[in-house]
Symmetry: C2
Subunit: 208 residues, 2 copies
């Protein structure tokens, strides 16, 4: 299948998230307009995304939620599970760990790293925490291909460079520092201050 636009991948992930909660609530079928309204988008958007992944319900009483979840998984999940590590087990690292751990069968959170001796060697928020100096060994040994970077700003660049050198292929950067990676590595950056400022901007504009 042709590589999907990033926006579509994001929405597919969101579809699955709400679909999984609907399953747990005992729902079996869902119309495109229902799914759309749960995510504040249009039904056309939903149908178009599903068209892109080649999914068709055939019937006119909505999509079979289980089948849809499975189809989305076949498209966006890796066939063989990918191993993930969190670097920096401060508040944010621990938050990410508890949000994420065990949620997706094809993404295993296999390790975390920190330089604080109080943390290393222990299991924190469900993940074993290693000393950052063990990064090279563990990335190779555990075949870690994705890191989530939640270290203090001063350590961000060097830690990322190291991880890339040790073979990591994807980086999710939550630090306030903008990183550089070679073109063979996928980098996603998120800055929560930017999100807050965006909210503030539109609030300001609306109450003007």
């Amino acid at each position: 299948m042709k590589k999907l636009p990033g926006k579509t991948v994001e929405r597919l992930s969101e579809y699955r998230r709400v679909l999984l909660t609907l399953i747990s609530q005992g729902k079996n079928y869902i119309y495109s307009h229902e799914l759309a309204s749960l995510l504040h988008i249009t039904a056309v958007q939903v149908r178009r995304d599903l068209m892109l992944i080649g999914y068709s319900s055939g019937i006119r009483k909505g999509y079979d939620i289980r089948v849809l979840v499975e189809t989305i998984g076949r498209v966006i999940d890796s066939e063989t599970p990918l191993n993930v590590a969190i670097i920096g087990m401060g508040n944010l690292g621990r938050a990410v760990s508890s949000y994420f751990r065990g949620k997706r069968s094809k993404l295993n959170l296999v390790a975390s790293f920190d330089n604080d001796q109080q943390k290393t060697g222990k299991v924190i928020s469900g993940v074993r925490c290693y000393d950052v100096r063990e990064m090279e060994n563990m990335i190779k040994e555990l075949n870690i291909s994705i890191i989530i970077l939640t270290v203090p700003p001063d350590y961000a660049r060097s830690t990322c460079d190291d991880a890339v050198r040790f073979g990591v292929k994807g980086v999710l950067n939550f630090t306030t520092v903008s990183l550089n990676v070679p073109p063979t590595v996928y980098l996603e950056e998120y800055d929560m201050v930017t999100s807050i400022e965006k909210v503030a901007y539109f609030v300001k504009e609306s109450i003007r």
Copy 2:
């Protein structure tokens, strides 16, 4: 000034973030292509964004960083500061607090809320933590117009509804639950699991 596209607002916030660190490093001027490369975008993008906010350097040796920061502030910041509260002081709430507190002069983090008696009444990560039952009083008393929602999923909807009822105008939702707000309220949602899945997708596609 006409309302700016959300994407431009995001980039302006990012420009300012890197410009502030550059100032602290003693840099005074910056070319559009330098700023662009720091954020992995093109120089045209930068110049176009600045055009949108009506900023012109006049000279050909880059933008005066201080002036640019000030101009961006005039556009995206509220004239009178906006008050912000974090609801839910778990790991994520505390992380947001330390990322954000004191960073922006026009956004004051004035309170946090939790239902854990161990936390209420104390100052946590630099912010006073109130009992959620005090939300109505405090939102009104402190004139809180923006909330950052970092509560467990089960509390997300009701907490958001309450806050909106008490007068909040902007919501930044970090929970895994998709929310509904009236059209007068601005809602921004971020799901870190989606970001991780996006990274995983592109990693998987690149190593195929």
